[in-house]
């Protein structure tokens, strides 16, 4: 298990992504799987960095674990920001004409498509969003 906890600011975006990549790239040989995890991870991390703390500073902790019961990896994001359940976001209509497409909502949609199990909980004023991918 490895974790990284830093201030939830866009300045730390690269640090979070480098951490995620360094933890999984030796483990996962299939390029598409690796890419799916990196994209889903990016979307989840950016959501916290941009939206979790609208009025104050706060931190994001990312915890990465190899699963033991089945080959896979879990990425958990923990923040103390405003309550936000990504699983309750409405899916964008990807068949809508391009002129009518909202520019947002794609990130969560991609997370749902690319990962195998998602869970969210709100405990002790913390958001915990966990993403699991099997490979």
């Amino acid at each position: 298990m490895a974790s990284l906890k830093l201030s939830a600011s866009m300045e730390n975006f690269d640090a979070f992504m480098d951490f995620l990549k360094s933890q999984i790239e030796d483990e996962i040989s299939e390029k598409k799987t690796l890419n799916d995890i990196l994209i889903a991870g990016e979307e989840a991390i950016v959501n916290v960095l941009k939206y979790a703390y609208p009025d104050q500073n706060g931190e994001l902790e990312v915890i990465i674990q190899s699963l033991t019961d089945q080959k896979g990896v879990s990425i958990e994001l923990i923040d103390d920001g405003i309550p936000f359940n990504p699983l309750e976001r409405l899916e964008p209509d990807i068949n809508a004409p391009v002129e009518e497409r909202p520019i947002g909502g794609l990130g969560i949609f991609m997370i749902k498509k690319m990962m195998d199990v998602l869970s969210y909980s709100r405990d002790n004023k913390q958001n915990r969003f966990k993403l699991i991918k099997y490979y």
Binding site: F13, K32, N95, V98, G107
Partner: protein, 106 residues
């Protein structure tokens, strides 16, 4: 890995070469470049992506932006995408409005 982009405009066609990564950290810079095309009577926007390895939703939004804002009659091409990029494009339904080609033909 640095991502680089290069924009050339010839006869109403904007040719944009992307390489490396198009993600949250650099999509904004590309979006700013594309904004300069608004009102320039651009009929085609061609993204050459042979050397693009990674695209996240921030990158996809830039391509959607090209279609929505540069002009609704503007044709947007995606040329030379590898299978990873194509998977993401198809997953998000963007193949509905992009002209996807292996090599550029107008």
């Amino acid at each position: 890995m640095e991502s680089l982009f290069n924009i050339k405009i010839e006869n109403g066609t904007a040719k944009i070469t992307l390489s490396g990564r198009l993600d949250t950290s650099n999509a904004g810079a590309l979006s700013d470049e594309l904004k300069t095309l608004i009102g320039q009577d651009i009929q085609k926007v061609v993204f050459f992506v042979n050397d693009l390895e990674y695209i996240s939703s921030a990158g996809l939004r830039v391509i959607i932006f090209a279609k929505q804002k540069i002009g609704t009659d503007t044709r947007v091409y995606l040329v030379g995408a590898n299978s990873t990029i194509l998977d993401v494009v198809k997953m998000t339904g963007m193949d509905n409005f992009l002209f996807i080609q292996d090599t550029y033909q107008d």
